[in-house]
Every structure is written in structure tokens, then in C-alpha cells.
């Protein structure tokens, strides 16, 4: 794929207050803000050429760098990484970046970055190389997201930022934020952290930045910067503890970043940059980065254009019905009301439950209002949109009804039959089942083609994944509508077949089943629970079990056991744990509850952690292979997307299939 080259355009600008001429570099790839400026080799060379021309001049008082509207620059051209096939290549690109960017930091005249818009990765590093920086108060994103993908900010970021703002704050940007769902900061935060020396409002950011630059050039403004020679070791150690908690050593990039920041305390500029080059070269050739880029592409692209969406025009939604008024139902009401801004009616047979359900949703609105997330008028609107009804007649003019009643096929069939008696013929009926058959649920209806599965993850407002289930008779209009609604709800939708437990729960249960089985066989809980640590999953299996609740875990295990008895077991010990009313194997202090331990005692064939890991990964590989054969999803990418968004499985595994592919003996079909 050819590079969309970010050109370094240069114009002379007469600075105000007679401060002389500034050569102003505009970074612009010629596209609008939807295709932000990035740096590949050609882009670097264009900037280098501009700096050559500038270096040849003796008449300049200053050099400035700014971006195109709304965008400063968002870093390296990730598409270019695929073309890097040798370590030499990788090293060359790393060095080229340094060679070009460092000229901005070693210029005989002062250099200024005017950060007018999003500045990430290499984009922010360009700014860091400059002598001074201004930032627009309207900048939505300042970040060094490299560690999120599997790289380090190695075009100067790890060396310059800690010296500019101190190691502690620098590590927040370099390591902590990328590992916290790739958090980004806004212009005012960047200014508060000391990344920028001055901040101006977006309305006339560039003009006021140049005025400020002129005053710096004239000596009317002096930029004071604190020295940062305090305790670097403890700052780095603190960050290392955090990285260990998250990753347990599973991905190399954040550790390399920690080492580089530590090095920045003492290394010379040349040494520091050379160390960055080596780190980049290693990481660029490593599988974690490749998996990270694959995962990034999935969530950036595939999540936004899901596979298998029918071309049919989706039905316009003007009113939504929610059957039930429990916790899940009120979460749905809130989500639908906030996102679709149409009336949402909850129904329940019991006035008290109904009041409680609607009340819970209204209370959440009050919380949002108190936090300043919504304004008073909006709160009034949303509350008025969410009402309760004791009869389903209120669904008569609804276009979309979702049920959130007890997870029992008979109950759900009954509910859908009652709803169908009231609603129009093309009203879409959605079920939030996590394990029941959507096809069977629709079986008794006059219009089974209107039924789809709409499997959310808890908490509904937060989790980004929505598994949309096509039953055997689900029609295109209902499916298209489900995708349109899912998208409006802000979810990433993946089309799945009506197969037991769909994707995320099926894989997590299989995975869990192996770990629990190992414990049943006599493996110590600690050993089994930490056997997967080298993967760097967001939590251990028993922590996950604690989170979802052993009863739910057991229920899904039973469902899957019924469907696939050979591969999914039901642990008697787990059943006993549930019967004992335990919240999990861990006590309130996160140590293993002795009673829980006693419940699992008695196995006679303990495994090593390595063996547990091996069997679990083999089980995952087998299950994925079978799911692909069954056609549960269109291809392996959807499995990975589901695991990333629904289970929080990490980028460095690429979800899971890239990792399984590179593990010997666990090869999956392509």
C-alpha cells in the first residue's frame, strides 16, 4: 500500500512586533481531518527536505511547525509497518525518524510547535523536539499510544518527555495511559502537565501562538521550566509495578519504555536516541506489535463495518419496548433513551417492580445530571421518555421490543407471544439471551422472521460489544434494523450464528472449564489460576468467575455441556461452591477462602502451571476451529474482535487467534 505522504509545506511569516521572519512548516497530507497526518518514510523525507532548505538560510529568526485544520500529526504510518520485513529495515526507519526530528531540537534558531489539533505518537514527538510548544485549548487528543499497540515512543519521546515534565508525569503518558484503554488527554491537560509552554483558545490559536512566539524571540517572554533531577528510580519502579499488575510480563513494549525512561535520566542525547532505535527495531520485528496492529485494525475498521449486515433498509425506530423492569431492563431503558432519544416503555406485571425499574433509570439520569454530564433540559427529556406500563398494550406503536426477563426458554416464548399479540407485524423483537436458542424462541410466533438475538455484555452502558444473533428464520429487515440500532447505541456489533452461548461466553466457558477441571484434578487453585499469566489477560480465570458470579458461570457451563458434552464439563465442585453460596474462591481480602479451597480438595492428579496453560490453549484452539467450521462467525477476525471487545483480551495477543497461531502445536486453520 502506498504511503499517503504528509508533506512539510513551508511559508515565510513575518512575526508581529518586528520579531523577524519565521519559516512556518505546515504538516498536511492534502486530505481532510478524517485522514490525519501520519509519517512514513516519504513524509519524513519531505520534512527533512524542508529543514534542509531552512538550514540553508541565514535570515530566519525562528522556525514553526503546525498542522492542517484539526490535526497536528498522529504519528507513524502504521500501514508502513507491514512493509518492514527485516530488523535492518526497522532500524533504518527508527534512525531516519531521529535524524529528521532531532534537527528541530538542534536548530540554531528557536523552533516552535503550534499544536493546533490531535498530536499523537510521532506527531507529539515532533513537538517535543522543538524548543517551545503552544497547544490549542481545543485539542481533543494528545497521546503517546505506542505502548498500546506494542511499540515505544521511540522517535525521542522516551528521552525528551521525562526531561521536560519529569519521569512520573511522562510515564503516565508513555505507559499508564496506553495501558488504560489507550486514554488520551486534551489540550488543557497537556498544558497543565507542562508539555506545552502556552495555551491559546482555538478561535485564533495560530495567530496568538505566533504573537507569543514573537515575544519569545524578542525576549519579552521567558519560558521557565522546572529541572527534573529528582527521584527517577522510584517513579520508574512505581510504573513498573503497575505494568506488572496489568501484563505480568506478557508484552515487551511497556517494559522497554520503562527502561528507556530510566535511561533518560543519565544518558546523553545520542545514547538515548540510539537506545530508542534498538528498542524500535526489536519491537517492530516482534509478534506482539504485529498482533497489536491487527487488533487495532479490527477495532478501528471491522468493528465499524461489521461483516454480514444485510443491505436491506433498516426500520426507523420511533418507540422502544422493554419487557421486564429488572436491573437489566432499566439499563436497557437508559441506554435506548439516551442514544435513540425515543420513548421507551418498560412493562412488568408488578407495579412495585415497575416503579423500581423506572425509578432506577430515572435515578441514573439524576446522577448524570449531578455529575454535569447532561443538562437539566436533557434530563427532563430523558426522564419523560422512560415510562412504565403494567400491560403490553403500550407496545402497540413500538418498532423495537427487547425482552429482559428470566433466562428460561418457556418464559421467553410466552413473553414474545404476548408481545406479538399487541405489536405491528414488522415490529422487531429482540432477545437478550446469553445462551438460549433464538430460533426456538421464535418458533411459535406468527412472524418468526422478526426475532433477533441482542446479546449485550455487563455493564451494558460500558461494554462495547454487542453480539447480534441471526436465528434460523430471522429476516433481513430485522437483522438490518438490529445492526442499525446497535450502532446507534454506540456498540460494536458482530453477527453470530444461533449457536450455544455465541462467541464470548462459549470461549470463556471452555477456557474456564479447563482451568476448573485442572483444579478438580488436584492442581492447587493458585497454580491453575495463574497458569495463564504469561498471556497478560485482564484478569485471572477465578477472578473472572468471581466477577460474573459462580452461579452464572455454572449455568452457562451446564448449557454448553448440554450442547457439547464432550468438550464442556460441569464441575461438581463448582456446583458445590454455588450451593455453598460463595461469591467465588477468593475471600474479601483476595486470598483464597479456606472453605472454598476445601470444596475443591480431593483431586489426585495435579498439573503444573505449564500443563494447565497448554491444555487451556489447546482447548481454545480446538473450540475456535470448531466454531469456524460451524460458521458461528464469518471468520477468525470476528472471534478476535469479540474477545477484545467483549472479554477485554489484549491487543498483544491480537484477541487470541494470532497468539494461538504462533504457539507451536496450536496451529489453527487459516
Amino acid at each position: 500500500m502506498s504511503e499517503l505522504v504528509t508533506k512539510a509545506l513551508v511559508r515565510d511569516v513575518e512575526l508581529p512586533y518586528g520579531a523577524g521572519t519565521m519559516a512556518l512548516i505546515t504538516l498536511d497530507n492534502g486530505e481532510d481531518h478524517t485522514k490525519p497526518n501520519t509519517f512514513g518514510e516519504q513524509g519524513l523525507l519531505s520534512l527533512n527536505e524542508a529543514l534542509d532548505a531552512i538550514a540553508a538560510r541565514a535570515d530566519l529568526a525562528a522556525v514553526g511547525v503546525t498542522g492542517k485544520p484539526f490535526i497536528f500529526a498522529v504519528g507513524a504510518d502504521l500501514k508502513g509497518v507491514e512493509q518492514i520485513t527485516t530488523r535492518e529495515d526497522a532500524l533504518r526507519i527508527a534512525r531516519l525518524g531521529h535524524a529528521v526530528f532531532r534537527r528541530l531540537g538542534e536548530s540554531p534558531v528557536p523552533t516552535f510547535a503550534f499544536v493546533n489539533g490531535a498530536a499523537m505518537g510521532g506527531g507529539l514527538e515532533i513537538a517535543l523536539h522543538c524548543s517551545y510548544r503552544t497547544v490549542s485549548a481545543g485539542v481533543p487528543a494528545v497521546a503517546l499510544p505506542e505502548c498500546f499497540l506494542g511499540l515505544v515512543p521511540g522517535w525521542g519521546g522516551t528521552q525528551l518527555l521525562p526531561r521536560l515534565i519529569g519521569p512520573e508525569k511522562a510515564l503516565t503518558l508513555i505507559v499508564e495511559n496506553p495501558l488504560s484503554q489507550n486514554r488520551m488527554i486534551k489540550g488543557p491537560e497537556a498544558y497543565a502537565l507542562g508539555i506545552a509552554d502556552a495555551m491559546f483558545e482555538p478561535a485564533d490559536f495560530l495567530e496568538e501562538s505566533m504573537r507569543w512566539a514573537a515575544r519569545v524571540v524578542n525576549g519579552d517572554v521567558t519560558v521557565e521550566r522546572a529541572a527534573h533531577d529528582g527521584d527517577w528510580t522510584s517513579a520508574v519502579d512505581r510504573a513498573r509495578t503497575l505494568v506488572d499488575m496489568r501484563l505480568r510480563g506478557a508484552a515487551p513494549a511497556p517494559y522497554r519504555a520503562l527502561d528507556l525512561v530510566a535511561l533518560a535520566h543519565t544518558a546523553t542525547r545520542d545514547e538515548g536516541f540510539a537506545a530508542e532505535d534498538e528498542a524500535l527495531a526489536d519491537l517492530l520485528m516482534g509478534p506482539e506489535l504485529r498482533a497489536g496492529l491487527y487488533a487495532f485494525d479490527l477495532v478501528q475498521r471491522r468493528a465499524k463495518k461489521p461483516a454480514g449486515v444485510p443491505e436491506t433498509e433498516p426500520r426507523k425506530i420511533t418507540k422502544v419496548g422493554v419487557v421486564g423492569a429488572g436491573l437489566m431492563a432499566s439499563q436497557f431503558a437508559l441506554l435506548f433513551a439516551r442514544r435513540l432519544e425515543v420513548p421507551v416503555v418498560l412493562t412488568d406485571l408488578d407495579q412495585e417492580r415497575l416503579d423500581k425499574g423506572v425509578g432506577a433509570a430515572h435515578a441514573e439520569i439524576d446522577r448524570l445530571l449531578a455529575k454535569g454530564r447532561i443538562k437539566g433540559d436533557k434530563a427532563n427529556q430523558l426522564k419523560a421518555l422512560m415510562t412504565g406500563s403494567l400491560t403490553k398494550d403500550a407496545f402497540a406503536d413500538a418498532d423495537f421490543v427487547i425482552e429482559a426477563v428470566f433466562e428460561d426458554l418457556k418464559v421467553k416464548q410466552q413473553v414474545f407471544a404476548e408481545v406479538e399479540a399487541v405489536v405491528t407485524d414488522d415490529c422487531v423483537l429482540a432477545t437478550n439471551t446469553s445462551s438460549l436458542s433464538v430460533t426456538e424462541m421464535a418458533a411459535g410466533l406468527r412472524h418468526p422472521e422478526r426475532v433477533v438475538g441482542f446479546h449485550f455484555f455487563n455493564p451494558v452502558a460500558v461494554m462495547p460489544l454487542l453480539e447480534i444473533v441471526r436465528g434460523a428464520r430471522t429476516g433481513d429487515p430485522a437483522l438490518a434494523t438490529a445492526f442499525a440500532v446497535g450502532r446507534k447505541l454506540g456498540k460494536s456489533c458482530v453477527l453470530v450464528k444461533d449457536a450455544p452461548a455465541f462467541v464470548v461466553n462459549r470461549l470463556l466457558t471452555r477456557f474456564m472449564g479447563e482451568v476448573v477441571a485442572a483444579v478438580d484434578e488436584g492442581t492447587p487453585i493458585e497454580t491453575a489460576d495463574h497458569a495463564l499469566d504469561p498471556l497478560g489477560l485482564p484478569m485471572t480465570p477465578f477472578t473472572l468467575l468471581q466477577l460474573v458470579g459462580p452461579a452464572v458461570g455454572l449455568h452457562v457451563a451446564e448449557t454448553l455441556h448440554a450442547a457439547f458434552p464432550g468438550r464442556f464439563g460441569v464441575s461438581e465442585n463448582l456446583a458445590r461452591l454455588v450451593a455453598a453460596g460463595k461469591p467465588g474462591v477468593y475471600g474479601a481480602d483476595f486470598t483464597i477462602d479456606p472453605e472454598a479451597r476445601a470444596i475443591f480438595d480431593g483431586g489426585t492428579d495435579p498439573s503444573t502451571a505449564e500443563r494447565v496453560r497448554e491444555r487451556t490453549l489447546q482447548a481454545l484452539a480446538e473450540e475456535i476451529r470448531l466454531m469456524l467450521e460451524e460458521g458461528v462467525v464469518a471468520d477468525a477476525r470476528d472471534i478476535d474482535l469479540c474477545m477484545i471487545l467483549g472479554a477485554g483480551w489484549p491487543f498483544h495477543l491480537g484477541g487470541i487467534t494470532p497468539y494461538l497461531k504462533r504457539m507451536e502445536g496450536l496451529l489453527l486453520p487459516a
Binding site: L9, V10, R11, D12, V13, E14, L15, P16, L24, I25, T26, D28, T66, P69, E201, A203, D204, L206, E207, M210, R211
Partner: protein
């Protein structure tokens, strides 16, 4: 009730030449206004933004980036509190002048304490007459001469009315305007009231810090050979006319007592103003009856006026004014910094440029008590504002 109204401060963007290579080819008109409003607020830190009671912004063509009730939309974009209202004004070339007189009337009546008034015209984005749909009755009932809508032709018509004003006199006046503008720049009279404007182009961002239209070094010989596009062997050329330009202006106008309360500068006091109508086909005579009326309202005579800022839409229209009032073509009191022939004339914005320049000249000439700003207006009008020097 009636309150004294004062001119507090005025600024403008540098003016640009319209067209694809012009300074503001890639710059929005509303952004020009926003920059002016923000600069006025920045330059007058003792004026709390919430004390601005009105934002009146003129534009001749009120569509696209000059549409959407530009006074209000620019106020919001400039970050003024949402409690500050705004509106749009059109009186063609006298738009900004009308913005000032409107808010001044409101202040005198007690409706406002402080207002921002200004104008904008991006003639590159909005050529004169864009989207107009003249009523056919203008022609069928001979309400106006067909030439009335073509400003250059009305200037030729004005030469006909004043046969003594020759092309040579018009060219000589144009040379003087260019010379005076160049001197004003050299003396640093213009720059203090310009606000630098970022400009985008295919070559990247730039910064407009000076007017683009002036042609220092213009000579009579150089002008002599220019085409007369409005009439074969005519007298009106690009050299003795203002150009096609882009730019925005703005000023702060306040009740005198409120200016005192807030510690705002009081540069000039509004004495009187008047607008007058004339035959549209000779719209350039408009300043004459407008000035006569304004003088009458003020109880002054032309001899009381020590400084003149007259918009140079065309040299002939300035010369007609001078001839009428018995002033010499090169009277040093008239357009001492040069005029629109040099700086350009982004239609609705120009009125405030005249006022800002007059206020600077007042500072240089504390001995002068009264000055006027006057301009001709398309469709046959003139507007005049008489000011008292408070410097």
C-alpha cells in the same frame, strides 16, 4: 433620554485582494469577523465581555459564511457569552457605518451601554451582486437607470455630471492616495489597528500582517495606460478605483458615562449622522447631501470640519465631494492616510476603517475639534458621521 456616544477602539484585519491567489482565498468571512471581535475584547481588557449589549455586523451578501445572522454567529464563534445578542446589517458599502449608527442610536436611547459594530465582505467568496434578483419593475417602469447596478458605470456617469473632473485629475488623486498610504505605513499609523490573521493556502499556513492591495510607487504614467472597462475611452480604471477585496472591521462603541465607569478609552464623540438618497445611477454624489444633512443636524458648517475620511470607492466620487465643498484635490485634511484606492474596499466593512483612521488622526491633531467619515453607497445613497475629537 439621550446619552453621549463615544468611539472607544477600532481594529480590522489586513485587507486582501479577492481571488484564488488572494490573501484570504482559503479563509472564511466569519473567521475574519471572529478575529476582529476577539481582538477588540483583548485590546480592551477593562471591558467585561458580558457588558457587550449588541454585536452588529454588516455584510452586503448575507449568504454562506456571511449568512446565518453573522453578528450573532460570529459573537458565538468569538467566545462572547451567549447572553450577548447580535444581528446582521446591510446597507451595501455603508454596512459597517450603519452598524455604528444603529448601535449608537440604541445607546443614545438607553437600550445599550456598550456595543460592537463592524462589517465584513469577502468579495472573493461573494462577488458583488451574488444571488441578487432585481425586480423587473426597476427596468419596466424606468425606476432606475440600467447602469445603476454597475458601480463602475455609475462612476462614469458621475464624470459626466462633473465634466471638470477629468481622468487626469482622477489619476492624480489615485497617485496621492497611494503615496499617502505608503507614508502612513512607513510612519506606523496603520499597523497598530491591524490584527494579524492566519491564512491557509496550498503552500501551508501563513500570517496576514499587512494590507495586500496597496501599490506603493504608483505613477501617473503607470495609471494613464490602464483600461477603462466600464466605457470605451472612459475615465474610470482599476487604478483610480478601489479594488475587489476581502476584509473585516470592528469597533467598540459605548455610552460616554459607561466608558468612564469601565475605564474605556474615549477617542471620539458622535456628534451627528445622516444618510441620504440620490439617483442610483450617480450613487457617488451620495456623500454630498448626507454631509449637508449631518452638518445641519450638528449645527456645523463645512468650515468647522478639520479632518475628513471619505471612502474612495472611486476617485471621481471623492473629487465631486471636494469640488462641491470647495476643497482642493490635495487638501491635506482629506484622507491623510490615503484611502480605499490604496487599501481596498471590502464593501460592508469599510465604514469602520474610516472611523478608526479618523480616530488616529485626531490623536495626531488634538487641535482639530471635528472630523467626518463619509461614503457613497450603492443604489444611490450617501452616509456621513460627524465626530468630535476627544483626544
Amino acid at each position: 433620554m439621550s446619552r453621549e456616544v463615544v468611539f472607544v477602539d477600532g481594529v480590522r484585519t489586513p485587507f486582501g485582494k479577492s481571488g484564488p491567489k488572494g490573501l484570504y482565498a482559503e479563509t472564511r468571512a466569519d473567521d475574519l469577523v471572529v478575529r476582529v471581535i476577539r481582538e477588540l475584547i483583548r485590546r480592551n481588557p477593562s471591558l467585561p465581555p458580558e457588558r457587550v449589549d449588541e454585536v452588529a455586523v454588516a455584510a452586503t451578501t448575507q449568504i454562506g459564511d456571511q449568512g446565518l445572522t453573522i453578528g450573532r454567529s460570529a459573537a458565538i464563534l468569538a467566545g462572547l457569552p451567549k447572553s450577548v445578542p447580535g444581528y446582521a446589517i446591510d446597507r451595501m458599502c455603508a454596512g459597517a457605518m450603519t452598524a455604528v449608527t444603529n448601535v449608537a442610536g440604541g445607546i443614545a436611547f438607553g437600550a445599550y451601554d456598550v456595543a460592537i459594530a463592524g462589517g465584513v465582505e469577502h468579495m472573493g467568496r461573494h462577488p458583488m451582486g451574488e444571488g441578487v434578483d432585481p425586480n423587473p419593475r426597476f427596468v419596466s417602469e424606468r425606476l432606475v437607470d440600467q447602469s445603476a447596478l454597475f458601480m463602475g458605470v455609475t462612476a462614469e456617469n458621475l464624470h459626466d455630471r462633473y465634466p471638470s473632473i477629468t481622468k487626469e485629475r482622477a489619476d492624480a488623486y489615485a497617485v496621492l492616495s497611494q503615496e499617502r498610504a505608503a507614508k502612513a505605513y512607513a510612519d506606523g499609523r496603520i499597523q497598530p489597528d491591524l490584527v494579524p490573521m492566519a491564512t491557509r493556502s496550498a503552500q501551508g499556513w501563513g500570517l496576514a500582517t499587512a494590507d495586500e492591495p496597496p501599490r506603493p510607487g504608483t505613477t501617473l504614467d503607470g495609471l494613464a495606460g490602464l483600461k477603462t472597462p466600464f466605457r470605451a475611452h472612459g475615465r474610470v480604471t482599476a487604478g483610480n478605483s478601489s479594488g475587489i477585496n476581502d476584509g473585516a472591521t470592528g469597533c467598540v462603541v459605548a455610552a460616554a458615562d459607561v466608558a468612564d465607569e469601565l475605564g474605556l478609552s474615549k477617542r471620539m464623540r458622535l456628534v451627528s449622522y445622516a444618510f441620504a438618497g440620490v439617483d442610483p445611477e450617480v450613487m457617488g454624489v451620495g456623500p454630498i447631501p448626507a454631509t449637508e444633512r449631518a452638518l445641519r443636524l450638528a449645527g456645523l458648517s463645512i468650515g468647522d470640519i478639520g479632518l475628513f475620511e471619505i471612502n474612495e470607492a472611486f476617485a471621481v466620487q471623492v473629487l465631486a465631494f471636494l469640488e462641491h465643498f470647495g476643497l482642493a484635490d490635495d487638501d491635506p485634511r482629506v484622507n491623510a492616510y490615503g484611502g480605499a484606492i490604496a487599501y481596498g474596499h471590502p464593501l460592508a466593512s469599510s465604514g469602520v476603517r474610516l472611523m478608526t483612521q479618523l480616530s488616529r488622526q485626531f490623536q495626531e491633531h488634538p487641535e482639530v475639534r471635528y472630523g467626518i467619515t463619509t461614503m457613497c453607497v450603492g443604489l444611490g445613497m450617501g452616509g456621513t458621521v460627524i465626530w468630535e475629537n476627544l483626544a
